[in-house]
């Protein structure tokens, strides 16, 4: 503990020695046992272009399949009502569904990919927290965060469609099927290995 008045040494107390001893043990435990685990986690903080491609393709596929169902149902409904395929009603319905599909897919994929970047930033922020001795927060909710973004995109497209058209054939079909596409993309993205990584956090 140094000297008082510059001359007389002050004896370290038993408590101070114990504190130093325990701290030394804790530091040794950290450096040998915990730091290697941390280092492994720190190497895997960043999402890459492969993650983005996977999210983009799965999101597009999920939304696309729902619109395919909607289109099939719409077509069936119209044929049941003997709507002529060459009529403006039929062609207009197909075009509207296509436009809506394009909007929902573009918005959903953009948001999904953005969410992948968000995951990187969240992981970096967690690492900074750990470095400061603070608790990190799990990013396991990443899938649902991105799923929410997709749900929003689908919901917006659906609402626009409902607002644009007062045509039950289309809005009913889309409403019943499209919403379930929300969250499809990243539900598969949460692979077991990535889940395990998140548990380590």
């Amino acid at each position: 503990m140094g000297k008082s008045g510059g001359q007389d040494p002050i004896e370290e107390t038993e408590q101070e020695r114990a504190l130093a001893e325990v701290t030394k043990g804790q530091w040794a435990h950290y450096t040998t046992d915990l730091r290697p685990l941390e280092d492994r986690w720190l190497k895997d903080l960043r999402m890459d272009s492969g993650d983005k491609s996977m999210v983009a393709s799965q999101t597009a596929a999920g939304i696309g399949s729902q619109y395919d169902k909607a289109k099939a149902e719409t077509t069936g409904n119209m044929f049941t009502k003997q709507v002529d395929p060459s009529s403006g009603k039929f062609v207009g319905a197909m075009t509207e569904l296509g436009v809506s599909r394009g909007k929902a897919t573009g918005a959903g994929v953009s948001r999904g990919v953005q969410a992948v970047d968000d995951a990187t930033v969240q992981n970096l922020q967690n690492a900074v927290s750990i470095g400061r001795g603070q608790a990190a927060e799990s990013t396991a909710e990443m899938g649902s965060i991105a799923g929410n973004a997709q749900r929003e995109a689908m919901s917006n497209a659906d609402l626009r469609l409902r607002g644009d058209m007062a045509d039950q054939d289309r809005s009913e079909s889309l409403g019943s099927t499209a919403m379930s596409a929300a969250g499809f993309g990243l539900s598969k993205w949460k692979t077991p290995s990535r889940q395990e990584d998140k548990k380590k956090e």
Partner: protein
Amino acid sequence: MGWASDTMAQITREQWADYQGRFQPIEGELQSYYDNPQKMAEGISAARAYSGKAADAAANNVRIGLSRYGQAGQMDDPAFSRQLGLNKAAADVDAANSTRAHIVDRDNLILAGGLTTRGL
């Protein structure tokens, strides 16, 4: 100096060195995301590209669907082309704007340190 004092001083130095070596670069990397014009431009560019591709793919899908009933020619009608073109342009602008807003929100959360609790 006594043993306890020297030990604590040594551990403190090692901890600081450890932080500087392993975590400070990550702090720098995190900071690089904040208010970064390049990342903003990349994000917007990517979103517009996805939006454009999605619009084109959707238009193609409509064409294929109509062709099953011999109505693909309807797509050449200027009214339909115009509708698809307008929607593509609107989706492009929407993608750029929403991405910009999203990145600004994220920037604010980075600065506030609340990114993980708020979520995006």
